[in-house]
Amino acid sequence: MPLDRKIGVSAPVLSHDLAVAGLTKAYGPAAPVFTDVSFSVARGEAVALVGANGTGKSTLLRCALGLIAPTRGTVDILGTRIGPGATAQMRGLRAQTGLVAQKHNLVPRLSVLSNVIHGLLGQGAGPRYWTHMLAPAEARDAAMAALEKVSMADFAHRRADRLSGGQSQRVAIARALVGRPRLLIADEPTASLDPAAGEEVMALFFSLVRREGVTVIFISHNMSHALSYGDRVLGLARGQLRLNAPARDLKIADLRGLYD
């Protein structure tokens, strides 16, 4: 399938959990990261974002979650247009979103259980959620249930910096899922893991998000992951969205052009 086959811009509608239109990010006039990117993600859909290093994939997804302000363009999360200044509204939206990063980003000196309870901060803010020792019983139960799902319940009291890479990423997934988000962004969640652990974490992650109907956008350099776990594949190359097509219509060879 040729690159540059874009499937048009979708208008922000409620059945889309994420819609970006004309999104541009530039660090000064001479340093555009990406230009005029438009796509939408339907509820429950899993979308893979692929492209070579430095093409702005991570920046694009962080703009889509409102973590970085875009230079131009609009972002609608869960049917709500986000913009600067609406902090309380953003927090309400973010309580329904989550991020699993390349590095697990757990807080090193805290327990696994406290780290997972932190995933509930968007819903129950305040000092009681700062540590598992003070957390309400329902928050502790929810965190333990999330750890059960990733087979890490036995490690609840262990310090996060004493886990292996695969274990840490499982805990990061539990933290992202404990608040039952509707939209998750996964930025190369297996990049820091060895191939076996990476496969395991990917399979676990997608079995959970599929079961719970979470909308996912994930970045991956593993083309077979992009095609097997994604319903659709977005391809970013030289700052432009060059590919937006159903995964079932694509082959690995179709994606290679994005890395030229």
């Binding site: 973590l67 309580a95 979103t97 699993v100 757990l106 932190h118 901060l121 959620y129 700062w130």
Partner: protein, 266 residues
């Protein structure tokens, strides 16, 4: 073709750099002159020092009980002042740290105030608090609080700005408030640095508290002053030795505590 010339061991400085080095040397020489450098007086000092040592040796043990009580008071001033200063430093540093809970204007104002606390020496703070709350250890403790706040407030803020931003970003993405992000992601990550800085603050407080007595702010310093004023050099030497033992002891405890609590020597 690549240039495979071996780099010179020493780069020839630019004219501007050469001028800079020259200016630095002149500045240092000028400082020695301002500090009253005198080789003649330095050469004449060993006999005077030897005379002092002969008149002060052996150290006096007559007042050891009273001096020990004063040393305990000194340590109490240092510990109470350092603990209160460290506790106050955490919220103040949160306001001073850029991008944490407060905007840039608040960050700048708080950093300027902390800079002022640091710029005024602890002995001057002690004089101020002697005027404000009267003679005695309470004035000394308040001086230590302000000095510790200036020191820890700045370094805690720098430590928090320097932590890995990943955990904070992950919590931001779940809708956590800034204060929750600071409490859950930033402070725990900065905790080893906080502990290390706090132990330095305690060591610094112990050193400071030994001289605050010179201006009537409690502690053993007053005994040193009285010893010299009355030419009771054996007692003065006892005080100096006690201060040295306690300060070195606290420093060693600090090294031990750092190794035990955070697993590193800093």
């Amino acid at each position: 073709m690549t240039d495979r010339t071996i780099p010179a061991r020493f780069e020839r400085p630019s004219a501007l750099a050469f001028l800079g080095y020259g200016a630095a040397v002149l500045l240092i020489l000028w400082s020695f002159q301002g500090a009253g450098w005198s080789a003649d007086r330095l050469m004449r000092s060993p006999p005077a020092l030897a005379d002092f040592m002969s008149r002060s040796w052996p150290p006096s043990t007559h007042n050891l009980g009273r001096l020990s009580l004063k040393m305990v008071e000194t340590l109490q001033i240092a510990l109470a002042g350092a603990v209160l200063g460290v506790l106050l430093s955490v919220p103040v540093a949160m306001l001073a740290a850029r991008g944490l809970i407060a905007g840039p204007v608040v960050n700048s104002v708080v950093r300027i105030v902390l800079g002022f606390f640091r710029a005024v020496p602890d002995i001057a703070w002690a004089l101020v608090f002697v005027v404000a709350v009267g003679l005695g250890p309470f004035a000394g403790m308040l001086a230590i609080v302000v000095d510790t706040l200036g020191f820890c407030g700045r370094f805690f803020a720098d430590d928090m700005e320097g932590v890995d931003k990943g955990p904070a970003e992950a919590l931001t993405a779940t809708g956590a408030r800034r204060i929750d992000i600071a409490a859950c992601a930033v402070i725990p990550a900065a905790m080893p640095a906080f502990i290390s800085t706090s132990l330095y603050a305690l060591e610094k407080a112990v050193r400071s508290s030994t001289i605050l007595g010179l201006v009537g702010a409690g502690g053993i310093g007053i005994e040193l002053k009285v010893g010299f004023d009355l030419f009771d050099y054996p007692t003065a030497l006892t005080v100096i030795l006690m201060i040295a033992v306690v300060v070195i002891g606290v420093e060693q405890l600090g090294v031990l505590a750092r190794r035990k609590i955070i697993g590193v020597e800093r």
